[in-house]
Symmetry: C2
Subunit: 203 residues, 2 copies
């Protein structure tokens, strides 16, 4: 199957959306937790969380164009400066996905989908209790992508909580042991099975 | 296991590197193919390829700080304006990983690791013949992240090649059917098994 710029542009809008959302490969499945200045909790699934650097420990994620829809996560991060990122395991993938529905600002997605919030030292924002790998973030910078009105939200890791048995002596996290899932496109979920660990490559 | 900013900063450098490289979850495994103005081919594994938008179809990836090491991929993209992104399947994951070794600029990683290059209509840069999902890119913009000297390289999809049987009627790509792998940290590879396809979520 081959596409060029013309056949891509001519494709059905939803078909193209699904296709282009799928071509980069597997994406991490994370829930971002925030709280408004008035104390209203929010949690939403994101598949765009990305490692930006280890020293300082910087993590990014993409926000959609402002004005596209209510974006409580973005507003809460700007208002409070803090958020949490929580890995999704297979056991609560359905609830995690359900957070992508457009609930109104008064509704806590935690309550609506049946996930528990928890507060941990050093972070004002709520974590997802069910998550087995989660970290607290401090907002650092928003880097706009002028071409399509999206932006990369950059933050620094402030705290990290992960189940002991999943962390190797050298610091690697075993995603299979945590039953972490990945996302393809907008709604396909994949479980992960470790097949290889290659040594540092030398020429 | 818990870390705060102090215990993270105090951790062994390599341990912290592995840990922070692992916390975002599964990452896509892609090979980026380029060619220099003199016609020297280059291919290198990247785990930071990210969907930025579908209309126009924009894809990004992170480049490391300039001057960190020879960065043929980056230089070739700036020089020629084109590159390819090729999904890694399990059958050639080892060769794909081996492209991360520091070969000198005169060496083609295609030859060094045993992958075949191929040229397809509408793109000057080489594709990876073994890849079952690949797309040609036109360089659009480099967006610097001042905090750590990295940058997001933004490009637009120009062409797409994917095996017919992996594309659904609605445009989704089945990553398991293509035996596509994911990466955790720097060197752990995972195979993907589709476990759920959830409907568009409604409140």
């Amino acid at each position: 199957m081959h596409f060029d710029t013309h056949s891509l542009a001519a494709a059905d809008r939803l078909y193209r959306l699904n296709l282009i959302n799928s071509i980069t490969g597997i994406k991490p499945a994370n829930l971002i937790g925030t709280v408004s200045e008035e104390g209203r909790e929010n949690v939403a699934v994101f598949s765009s969380v990305i490692h930006l650097g280890s020293n300082p420990p910087l993590i990014g994620f993409m926000r959609r164009p402002v004005g596209d829809a209510p974006r409580d996560t973005h507003q809460n991060i700007l208002d409070t400066g803090e958020y949490t990122i929580n890995a999704i395991s297979q056991s609560f993938a359905q609830q995690g996905h359900q957070t992508s529905a457009k609930y109104d600002r008064e509704t806590s997605e935690f309550e609506a989908v049946g996930l528990a919030s928890e507060y941990l030292p050093g972070c004002k924002a709520p974590f997802v209790k069910e998550s087995r790998l989660k970290f607290g973030m401090r907002f650092v910078q928003e880097i706009e992508i002028p071409l399509n009105g999206t932006a990369l939200i950059v933050g620094e890791v402030q705290s990290l909580h992960v189940e002991d048995q999943a962390v190797s002596a050298s610091g690697y996290i075993d995603l299979q042991a945590l039953d972490t899932v990945g996302i393809s496109g907008l709604n396909s979920y994949y479980r992960l099975e470790k097949v290889a660990e290659f040594p540092y490559a030398r020429a």
